[in-house]
Symmetry: C2
Subunit: 432 residues, 2 copies
């Protein structure tokens, strides 16, 4: 028996149970944070030498120069050329679809002129150089390389530097193939806080970047948090989540497998099903029992479902949508008839999968939109990774001689009110 939580919005303690289910705050471990602070300071001071030391220690290597920690372009191309045909075709098809979607995203600059000749606007430029962190080991996903690198390229980023640790020297051919396909410019086989430090501060060999994106373990997350400000970072991701809202008419096996597909990522991943049809929840519970033993990662799936999963009965689909907004899930499946009609009621979700045929896994790989999405309720205030994360805006202001007369008086009055005399005088100097 799988002990997945079952409850209903009609329960007296529903709010408390829901709050407890959703409670998750990425622990900011003080020990990790202190270790990371030390590594970052050391990399900032000693550069390459520190990176080499930590890499030898943490990744069990024995290199003596940074040259041994950089992969040539030929190694990436060889990995791509070495893929089985079907895998290469799938990777190329996914890359093409992801590129096509993201080409709709670039921000455009604009400007307008006022009657007195004053011009206002916004200029958009790409970042010069971006660092892409790719984890080593079990969580190294070629799809993540595509999802991070392609938007940067579409934005027009000048140079893309990837870091990926190779513990014990082990390389992931699929990851390198994806890097070749996505047009990564340089790859260093380093990881952890030392790689984040190298990208943030630059070393003799690793160029300083303007922003670091990509997932990583607790050390990487703590390091990104610390260098935020010196460079930009994407969000610090929590465990993956799916919320399936179903009217009870989807094949229960499909829904069970969709719940599994989040749960298999991580024992802390969260899979929740919400339905107004309590009998359907029973059928999905039965499917979960029956299908779980067939899954290679059944231990992880079971742990995730028992830790953080739930099957929740609601009054109706309106209440289900309200619950979706409360949860603000990373992935939301609307597995219901005429699903588009419910879309206006959804305010907070990273990605919305509309209709019974849209399994979340299609979005993970090849539908086109990005699979880097806000977790832990942060869809309340943040967005999928996109081209816009690799562009920035500059305000444009050209005040005409005539405009300076009008604006100068307003500015001087407000500046005096704030006690900022130089601001006032600087505006007044431009008055005739």
């Amino acid at each position: 028996m799988i002990a997945i939580k079952r409850f209903s919005s009609a329960d007296a303690d529903f709010k408390a149970r829901l709050d407890a289910l959703l409670a998750f705050e990425g622990a900011q471990d003080d020990t990790v944070d202190r270790t990371v602070a030390g590594i970052l300071a050391d990399v900032k001071t000693r550069g390459d030498a520190a990176v080499i030391d930590y890499t030898n220690r943490f990744d069990r290597l024995s290199v003596s120069s940074m040259g041994e920690l950089e992969l040539p372009a030929s190694a990436l191309q060889a990995a791509l050329d070495g893929l089985p045909t079907a895998q290469r075709a799938a990777l190329e098809a996914a890359a093409a679809r992801v590129r096509s979607y993201h080409q709709r995203q670039p921000l455009q600059g604009w400007q307008y002129e006022e009657a007195d000749g004053t011009l206002l606007g916004q200029k958009v430029t790409p970042l010069d150089r971006v660092g892409l962190y790719v984890p080593g080991g079990k969580a190294a996903y070629p799809s993540s390389v595509l999802m991070n690198a392609i938007p940067a390229h579409v934005a027009g980023v000048g140079e893309l530097i990837m870091v990926v640790p190779t513990p014990g020297g082990e390389k992931n051919a699929l990851v390198l193939a994806a890097a070749a396909l996505a047009g990564v410019d340089r790859v260093f086989t380093i990881g952890g806080a030392q790689a984040v430090g190298a990208l943030a501060y630059g070393t003799q060999t690793v160029p300083q970047v303007d922003k670091i994106v990509g997932p990583g373990n607790a050390y990487v997350a703590a390091a990104k948090r610390r260098v935020f400000g010196v460079v930009g970072i994407d969000m610090v991701a929590g465990p993956s989540e799916i919320l399936v809202v179903c009217d009870g008419q989807t094949n229960p096996d499909w829904v069970a497998m969709d719940l599994f597909s989040q749960a298999e990522h991580d024992e802390l991943a969260q899979s929740i099903l919400v339905s107004p049809d309590a009998a359907f929840l029973d059928r999905v519970a039965e499917a979960i029992e029956r299908l779980l033993p067939t899954m290679p990662r059944q231990a992880v799936i079971r742990a995730a479902l028992e830790n953080r999963g739930a099957l929740i009965a609601v009054r109706d689909l309106d209440e289900a949508c309200a619950l979706a907004n409360r949860i603000a899930p990373e992935h939301l499946e609307l597995s219901i008839a005429d699903a588009e009609n419910w879309l206006p009621k959804i305010r907070h979700a990273g990605a919305i999968f509309i209709g019974r045929y849209t399994s979340e896994s299609l979005g993970d790989y090849c539908a086109g939109p990005n699979h880097v999405l806000p977790t832990s309720g942060s869809a309340r205030f943040s967005s999928p990774l996109g081209v816009y994360d690799f562009q920035k805006r500059s305000s444009l202001i050209r005040v005409s001689h005539a405009g300076a007369q009008t604006l100068g008086r307003i500015a001087a009055t407000l500046a005096e009110g704030e006690g900022l005399t130089a601001h006032a005088r600087s505006a007044e100097y431009r008055l005739d």
Copy 2:
């Protein structure tokens, strides 16, 4: 004599001098950080009671309920009604211009359908609730209230909660007037890490927000950094900066005063002038000497100019633009003939002030663009505060029955490559 640094790009040690001039990293003080961690944990646990305790202690008050720490709408309106006519007119004119500019910024959603009926897109929604931190004391600027609140309103944010400490009970009428004008919904007279905690976690009285914006001292900055993830935050701002690029043809007094207008903010503010005309640098240095004694904040200006200011000679305007990109200043004045022509060469700056009549102070108050801008070189990767900071995107994916056949095969191949069997099976279930 004011000891403002003078150097030239022709100097042998130019790069080292420039690096030293620009070196500034917001210290992450461990003592501050530990204090803040304690306050946040306490506010999270004890809610209102903790907020009351800290407010009494740090702001030297003796209130016993949160009711005493909330200002009614009538108090804001009274502050607005009490302003001198000229000040009120100036504030209203500024608010109108800021609103008009920001109304060009809202993001729009989009979607497109593929030949097989698959639909992809992006939905844009405003944040539900935003917290606006406003400092008490010397750095309390009504213009900042406008610059933070207006974009939130234009975005369609549902509720805007302002917090502003009143140390010793002292309120700033201009700040409250600006809050009334900008349509702030509720105002609590609390500050520091306790206010950040109240907004991030919610208390019995203070509603939990989705994002916290606005400047603050080291405790506020550390608290914002810590709650990032639970809520969104704007950037953690460093000291203000201006870079003036001048061809030598602007009135030296104007340029000196523009440099002062940053320097008067803060002893750590940075004012830099770059010109290919060395004789012009002399004239500005002379103007600085002559004008400084006339400034009420001359001690702050002197300290800032001597700490972090510089007059830099360059070979030509091309080199000046390259230097501007290296510095990525918060404010960049192009005080040169045909200034627009140089715009394509500028890649990194928070706001670009084009032409001799465009003093930076006009942008601070009323030109229209936001005055919350990326500092400390972060214009390399970030943007002015804008309407887009109060909106977020959700990806839309509706895969048709036909689309699921094509995409399912691609996804299944890639999922198998990553060892994620549930992902593969979930896609395969949708195959006919």
